[in-house]
């Protein structure tokens, strides 16, 4: 009751300290929304078109000759000219993987290099063949289609917008594709896509699985199984699990993009420093405000002590004030922080509907901010509370 009354009685001071805490929390939550939003944007940009885990066959290594008695043997293993490794019986692996929790989608694919040719023009391309109906499970081709359709039938191909412009072709026309195994097919252009990635738009072509299997002489096998997870950050653990389950090599996107992880960590640390100073600001503001209050109310505290209010009760009175300032100020700040982050998103909105700043108001760590600020403000009240509880009533009365 006393703590609340003291907060209510000094309205201007209370309003100022609440504002201080709230502004600290706005800084905290906006930094969190910005840093986390940036991390999500960067990660999506990097892994949006990638499988989170890739299952591949172990590379084939030529069998070595056994040692011949009495002779010194020098062995050299020449890599690269062995037959292409492939996954036979891939349907079983796909079914096993699909049943695991945390798996969003599983697609078997054939990937390889080749060339496309039209008239005198030739260009190197990467060819990927997907199971029918699963073309958009890894790269969202359906969303990027600018002409035609993404649904592939046997003998059809999807090409990027840059490649189509370079070759002056459009849907309904045909392209000759020659694989690095020397096989050739003439494929019908079913659709043209723009996925916002220059390399993919210029160099990638997608076809159906059986066409790709024919081009790369894989028979009924596939060259890899691609897995997307509901939580991309769980990829290393899932890769280890899939390797144990299938015996295939399992490569996760995180270990393949160590630099991105380093950049995200560095960015996160920068954000943490700003957040730390925001909390420090709150701590100092609350401590100084309550210290001032303890000194200003010295006489009143002395009288309370003379009436039998214990030191512990005086301490509780001040710590409660700190707690209330922290809790209510941070709740206010969290609300303002969300509103501010949302306003920034609206103000920087581009015509295509994306935001000019990678701020995600949903990632503002509001509960964390409220928790930290409340604890910090409560701790900040301990020193003023100790000073207040140490007031000597005799000294106050005699003054």
């Amino acid at each position: 009751m006393v703590a609340l009354r003291y907060l209510r009685s000094g309205r201007l001071q209370t309003a100022l300290i609440f504002s201080g805490v709230a502004i600290g929390i706005v800084v905290f939550t906006f930094m969190a929304a910005l840093i986390n939003g940036l991390a999500v944007t960067l990660t999506n940009n990097v892994i949006g078109d990638l499988a989170h885990v890739r299952l591949e066959p172990a590379p084939r290594i030529p069998r070595q000759l056994g040692e011949i008695a009495g002779l010194r043997t020098l062995l050299a293993v020449q890599r690269g000219n062995e037959p292409r490794a492939a996954i036979d019986g891939w349907r079983g692996f796909v079914e096993t993987t699909e049943k695991l929790s945390g798996v969003q989608s599983v697609v078997a694919s054939v990937a390889g290099s080749g060339f496309i040719q039209r008239g005198e023009k030739i260009a190197p391309v990467s060819v990927t063949g997907y199971e029918p109906g699963k073309e958009s499970k890894m790269i969202d081709l359906a969303a990027g289609i600018t002409r035609g359709s993404s649904a592939l039938a046997s003998g059809e191909v999807l090409i990027g917008i840059t490649l189509a412009e370079d070759f002056g072709v459009t849907t309904g026309q045909r392209l000759r594709i020659r694989s690095d195994r020397g096989r050739e097919r003439v494929l019908l252009i079913r659709g043209i896509f723009d996925v916002g990635n220059a390399v993919v738009n210029e160099r990638a072509v997608f076809t159906d699985l059986s066409t790709a299997q024919g081009l790369f002489e894989l028979g009924g096998a596939v060259s890899r199984i691609e897995v997307k997870l509901t939580d991309a950050l769980a990829a290393p653990a899932m890769a280890a699990r899939l390797h144990a389950l299938t015996g295939l090599d399992a490569v996760d996107w995180i270990s393949e993009n160590a630099r991105l992880q380093e950049a995200l960590r560095a960015q996160g640390s920068t954000g943490d420093v700003v957040k730390f100073f925001a909390v420090l600001l709150i701590l100092i503001a609350v401590a100084s405000q309550l210290l001032l209050s303890a000194l200003r109310r010295r006489a009143e505290i002395g009288i309370m002590r003379s009436m039998g209010v214990s030191r512990a009760s005086v301490t509780t009175m001040f710590v409660t004030q700190g707690f209330l300032i922290g809790l209510l100020g941070s709740v206010l700040g969290a609300g303002l922080g969300y509103a501010f982050a949302s306003a920034v998103v609206r103000v920087t909105l581009r015509p295509d509907g994306t935001s000019g700043l990678p701020v995600d108001p949903a990632l503002g760590e509001y509960w964390l901010a409220i928790g930290i600020a409340t604890v910090a403000a409560t701790l900040a009240a301990v020193l003023p509370a100790r000073i207040a509880s140490g007031v000597d009533p005799v000294e106050v009365i005699q003054q």
């Binding site: 003379s306 009436m307 039998g308 209010v309 214990s310 030191r311 009365i397």
Partner: protein
């Protein structure tokens, strides 16, 4: 149950500043009974306020002991002393020392808070009755800052009586009031003493208060002046 509510035995109090020791109280013996209205008189610096703060458990004596409603304070810890003070002692100060952010009613209720009563309604009722008794039933919800000097001091008297203490210690309670208001406050304390049977010890310079008291304890240079000898002592002794 004994009528003695407060007893002081051979109380001394000294303050040391470096090598210099100042003896404020030099062996005070007192015995006070329930329902007595006693004036504590003496010149400035004679040790009246120090004696009141020791009797009120706010200050520890250098030697000697205080017995409050049968309990020797020297045997109690800090927490128990605080609890005893809350339960058995009420204070009225020269300056009312009301809490400015609270109403008259809340100020009177304040001493009951540490006791965490199981019946807050009854506590509130008692506070209202006390305010009515001191003539402030129409000012209960006024903030302390909105009351006159005399009204504040009457609220302070009601506050001192909130926990139905055995002892009320008043340090120059009329010293900051004009003579008419001071007389009203003094009459009020005297009436409450008679009505409630509470022991009042009133520190004062005012001989008129002494005249209204059951007993006068005179103190000079840290010692109680034996009754009947005080007028013959030369000034300065």
């Amino acid at each position: 149950m004994s009528d003695v509510v407060l007893r002081a035995e051979a109380l001394t109090k000294s303050y040391r500043d470096g090598d210099v020791e100042t003896k404020v109280l030099k062996g005070i013996d007192l015995e006070c009974r329930r329902g007595e209205f006693v004036a504590l008189m003496g010149p400035s610096g004679s040790g009246k306020s120090t004696l009141l703060t020791i009797l009120g458990t706010l200050l520890k004596p250098t030697s000697g002991d205080v017995e409050l409603v049968g309990h020797r304070l020297s045997t109690l810890g800090d927490r128990d002393v605080t609890r005893y003070r809350n339960r058995h002692v009420g204070f009225v100060f020269q300056f009312h020392h009301l809490l400015p952010d609270f109403t008259a009613l809340e100020n009177v209720l304040f001493p009951s808070l540490p006791r965490r009563s199981a019946d807050p309604g009854a506590e509130r009722q008692r506070a209202m009755e006390l305010l009515q008794r001191v003539g402030l039933s129409d000012r209960m919800n006024f903030r302390a800052t909105k009351l006159s000097g005399g009204q504040k001091q009457r609220v302070a008297v009601a506050r001192a009586l909130m926990n139905a203490p055995d002892v009320v210690l008043a340090d120059e309670p009329t010293g900051n009031l004009d003579s008419v208001t001071g007389a009203l406050v003094l009459d009020l304390m005297r009436e409450l003493c008679d009505e409630l049977g509470t022991f009042f010890l009133v520190s004062t310079h005012d001989e008129a208060i002494g005249a209204q008291s059951d007993r006068v304890i005179r103190i000079r240079d840290g010692r109680v002046v034996p009754s009947g000898t005080e007028v013959t002592l030369p000034v300065g002794l």
